[in-house]
């Protein structure tokens, strides 16, 4: 029987669908019975989706040109 702590420990595997069917069923059974873990899983899913959309490192043309100049001088 999974504990709430196990739900948190395995939440990335659950989210990324990297669990066997039987483990996924056990996970879902716990969620069915535990509203705290249902809330955690919902919020965890939202926070992962949000952080996936964080802006990437901006690149300036000067940085790209600096590489070109170095390579041209070789």
């Amino acid at each position: 029987m999974l504990r709430c702590r196990d739900i948190v420990d395995q939440s990335s595997e659950f989210l990324d669908r990297e669990m066997s069917l039987s483990r996924r069923m056990q996970y879902r059974i716990h969620l069915f019975m535990c509203h705290h873990c249902r809330r955690f899983t919902r919020q965890f899913r939202a926070s992962v989706a949000m952080t996936k959309r964080l802006p990437k490192a901006p690149v300036s043309q000067a940085q790209v040109d600096a590489v070109r100049q170095q390579v041209d001088s070789l």
Binding site: D6, Q43, L54, K56, A57, V59, Q63, R68
Partner: protein
């Protein structure tokens, strides 16, 4: 279009881009090299930042490009060009990190053994401090809060280097575990643990911000 279709489409575009340029690159064609620099500078900078920090990331990327240019004739095509270039970047960044802080261990840059959500569980494994409700749990609503966005970025920058690197490659650059393990030279099980720790740290910070309005 769903996320998987989007990733598939991007992978196909990357393959076509590299297939067109590779023969010219191996022959030392500088115009083709410039196109690759434009395409991959961003992912390299993101990766270098996650390992060595903002201050010297650009320097590391510049050094990595020189290594890439010199090594291109020896590129064997065992991985995609992008994966190969990022692996060179990661190696440059890691050796730079070792030079800067002489006794840095893999354990230290991985974050070691840390408890997820410390103090939140009873001894029997049930919640002692369960999560509270958030004002709005949709990713879009979370994103619209600029202060929280800054707070997340700050938290991300404070994660141990390897956690940040895995997070950057998996979540922001959409690499598969296989590719990111190839780039960072770590095992798949280690990569999964590091990604999970990074996600839980960020979740903990978002939760704290939702409850207190502070970072």
């Amino acid at each position: 279009m769903d996320t998987m279709s989007e990733i598939y489409k991007i992978n196909i575009q990357t393959q076509a881009f590299e297939a067109e340029l590779l023969p010219k690159l191996v022959d030392g064609d500088k115009a083709s090299f410039n196109r690759v620099v434009e395409a991959y500078y961003g992912p390299m900078l993101g990766l270098a930042r996650s390992i060595v920090g903002e201050a010297i990331a650009d320097e590391v990327v510049q050094e990595a490009w020189l290594s890439v240019y010199k090594a291109l004739p020896k590129f064997e095509g065992r991985s995609s060009l992008k994966t190969w270039i990022l692996r060179i970047t990661a190696n440059e960044a890691k050796s730079r990190l070792r030079r800067e802080s002489r006794h840095v261990s893999l354990e230290a840059i991985s974050g070691g053994e840390t408890d997820v959500l410390p103090g939140r569980f009873q001894n029997n494994g049930h919640w002692s401090v369960p999560p509270n409700g958030w004002h709005d749990e949709s990713p879009d609503a979370l994103l619209t809060n600029a202060e929280m966005g800054d707070c997340i970025e700050l938290t991300l920058n404070r994660l141990p280097e390897l956690q940040r690197a895995v997070f950057n490659l998996k979540e922001l650059e959409d690499f598969s575990f296989e590719e990111l393990c190839n780039i960072l030279e770590i095992s798949a099980s280690n990569a999964r643990v590091l990604l999970h720790r990074a996600r839980i740290s960020l979740y903990g910070k978002i939760e704290h911000f939702q409850e207190s309005g502070e970072c």
